[in-house]
C-alpha cells in the first residue's frame, strides 16, 4: 500500500538542488560516459532524495527540474518528467515497507530508474514515429549509463544523509503527538 503524505515537507529546500542538477545535466552530463552511456544527474539526485530524505519533497520539486531538463535537451520535453515516476514510485514502496533507507536500496533504485529511463526514452521515440532504430550497442550503453548513475548515487548517499536524522526525529515526534 502506498502511504499518504502525512509529514511536514520542505520542498523549497530541494528545488534549488534539483534545478542545479538539471543545469549540470545539460552541461556536463554528455561529457561523462562509459560504454557510450551518459550520466543522468537529475534522475539520480531525485531518486536519492526520495529514498534517503523525503519522497514527498522529491515528488514536488522533481517535476519542475525535469521540465527544465526537457527544455534544454533535444528529446521530447516530457521524457525526463515521466522518467521520475519509476524511482519515486520505488522510493515510496520502500518507505511503505518500513525499510530504513540504505545505500544498497539507493543503488538499486538508481539502477532500475536508469534502465527504465532509457526504455522510456526508446518507447517515446517509437511512439513519436521513429521506427528505424539500430539497436546495436544498446546493452553496453544501458549498462554504462546504469553504472555511472549507480556510482553517482553511491557518492551522493553520505551528503544526502546530512540532516536526515533530525528530520526523522521531528517526524517521529509529529506522529507521536
Amino acid at each position: 500500500m502506498i502511504p499518504s503524505f502525512d509529514d511536514q515537507i520542505n520542498w523549497g529546500f530541494a528545488l534549488p538542488f534539483f534545478l542545479a542538477a538539471a543545469l549540470l545535466q545539460a552541461t556536463i552530463g554528455p561529457m561523462l560516459s562509459i560504454f557510450g552511456g551518459h550520466l543522468d544527474i537529475l534522475l539520480v539526485l531525485v531518486a536519492g532524495w526520495a529514498v534517503v530524505r523525503s519522497p514527498e519533497e522529491a515528488m514536488i520539486a522533481g517535476p519542475p527540474a525535469a521540465l527544465l531538463t526537457g527544455l534544454l535537451a533535444a528529446s521530447p520535453i516530457g521524457t525526463p518528467i515521466l522518467a521520475l515516476i519509476a524511482p519515486i514510485g520505488l522510493a515510496l514502496l520502500l518507505r511503505s515497507g518500513g525499510a530504513t533507507p540504505r545505500l544498497p536500496s539507493l543503488c538499486a533504485v538508481a539502477a532500475i530508474g536508469s534502465a527504465t529511463a532509457i526504455g522510456l526514452d526508446l518507447a517515446i521515440q517509437f511512439v513519436s514515429g521513429a521506427r528505424d532504430f539500430i539497436f546495436s550497442g544498446l546493452v553496453p550503453v544501458t549498462l554504462g549509463a546504469t553504472l555511472l548513475n549507480v556510482l553517482l548515487a553511491a557518492a551522493l548517499y553520505r551528503p544526502l544523509c546530512i540532516g536526515r536524522k533530525r528530520k526523522l526525529v521531528r517526524r517521529t515526534r509529529l506522529s507521536l503527538s
Binding site: I2, P3, S4, F5, D6, D7, Q8, I9, L23, L24, Q25, A26, T27, I28, G29, P30, M31, I34, F35, G36, G37, H38, D40, E56, M59, I60, P63, L68, G70, L71, L72, A73, A74, S75, P76, I77, G78, T79, I81, L82, L84, I85, G89, L92, I118, D121, L122, I124, Q125, S128, A130, D132, F133, I134, F135, S136, G137, L138, V141, A145
Partner: protein, 274 residues
C-alpha cells in the same frame, strides 16, 4: 505543505509528461525551448568552463592503463610547453579551424554555407546530436546538411529553434544516408547506431570493398547532396555464404570534438542543391 494522495501525483505526472511529449511537436514549443536555452546559456557556459576539466578527469580515469604509457611519452613534450605557447596554440587552432571551414566554402562557390559554433551535446543515451548557435531566424531549416573542416559530412539539422538548432550526427541511431564507395562505386546505406558506430548495409557479398576505401554521399533519394566525404572503411567481415558484407566505417569528421561547423543553407531534402 501537505499532500494527501500520492496516487494523484502519479496520475498527474503521467498526464503532464504525456502532455509535454505531445507539446514537443507543437509549433510553440520551439519558441519556449529557445527562450529557456537563451536564458540559461550564461549559467551553462560558466558551469561548462568550471566543470569540464573535472568531467574530463573522470572520463579519463577509466582509461588509466592507456594513459599511463601515453603520459610517459608525452611528459618530455610537456616540459617544453609554456602557458604562453599553449595560449598561442589555442588561438592558432581556432584560426586553423575557421580557415579549414573557409576552404570548404571556397571549394563550393555555388553553395551557400553558414558558419556555426557547437554549443552543446544532447545528453540522451539513444541519440547523438549537437546543438549549434544558428537557428530558424538565421535561415536554418530541418534537413539542411552540416559539414566540418575538410568537407566531411557531420550530419543533418533535425530540429530548429529561433536561435539554435539540433544537428543529428551521422552516427545518430536514426541516421540513414545513401552512400557510395568511391573505389568500387558500390552503393549502400550508411547507418548510425545507438553505440555511435557507422555501418554500411546492403553491400553485396561479391562487392570489392577493402579497408581504407573512401565512402561518400551518393545523393540518391535527395536526402543529402552528393559528393560529401563520410568516412573510410575500417573493417570488412562476411563469409561467402552471406548475402551481404558487414562493413564498418570510421567517420571522417572528428565528431567527438567538433567546435565549428558549416550549415549548407542552399540545400533542403527533396529540393535542389545550389
Amino acid at each position: 505543505m501537505t499532500l494527501t494522495r500520492p496516487l494523484t501525483w502519479f496520475v498527474s505526472i503521467f498526464l503532464l509528461g504525456l502532455a509535454m511529449v505531445a507539446f514537443s511537436h507543437a509549433p510553440g514549443s520551439a519558441e519556449i525551448r529557445g527562450i529557456t536555452q537563451v536564458a540559461t546559456s550564461p549559467i551553462e557556459y560558466s558551469l561548462h568552463a568550471i566543470l569540464s576539466p573535472v568531467a574530463d578527469f573522470i572520463t579519463t580515469v577509466s582509461s588509466y592503463g592507456d594513459l599511463r604509457s601515453q603520459n610517459q611519452r608525452l611528459e618530455a613534450d610537456n616540459q617544453r610547453l609554456t602557458a604562453q605557447v599553449a595560449g598561442l596554440q589555442e588561438q592558432l587552432t581556432r584560426t586553423g579551424q575557421l580557415a579549414d571551414l573557409a576552404e570548404v566554402a571556397g571549394q563550393h562557390p555555388d553553395v551557400r554555407f553558414l558558419a556555426a559554433t557547437v554549443m552543446a551535446r544532447d545528453p540522451s543515451n539513444l541519440h547523438d546530436q549537437i546543438e549549434v548557435d544558428r537557428g530558424s531566424d538565421d535561415g536554418v531549416r530541418s534537413g539542411m546538411t552540416v559539414v566540418a573542416s575538410g568537407g566531411a559530412l557531420v550530419g543533418t539539422v533535425r530540429q530548429t529553434l529561433p536561435h539554435r538548432a539540433w544537428v543529428a550526427l551521422v552516427t545518430d541511431s536514426q541516421s540513414n544516408i545513401n552512400a557510395v564507395i568511391q573505389q568500387s562505386r558500390a552503393l549502400a546505406i550508411l547507418r548510425g547506431s545507438v553505440d555511435r558506430r557507422l555501418t554500411m548495409q546492403f553491400v553485396a557479398e561479391g562487392t570489392d570493398v577493402k579497408v581504407g576505401d573512401t565512402v561518400m554521399t551518393s545523393g540518391l533519394g535527395g536526402g543529402y547532396p552528393s559528393g560529401y566525404l563520410l568516412g573510410h572503411v575500417s573493417t570488412v567481415q562476411g563469409q561467402p555464404v552471406d548475402l551481404f558484407k558487414r562493413v564498418a566505417v570510421e567517420p571522417a569528421a572528428r565528431l567527438d570534438s567538433l567546435e565549428h561547423v558549416l550549415i549548407q543553407t542552399s540545400f533542403t531534402p527533396g529540393g535542389s542543391a545550389r
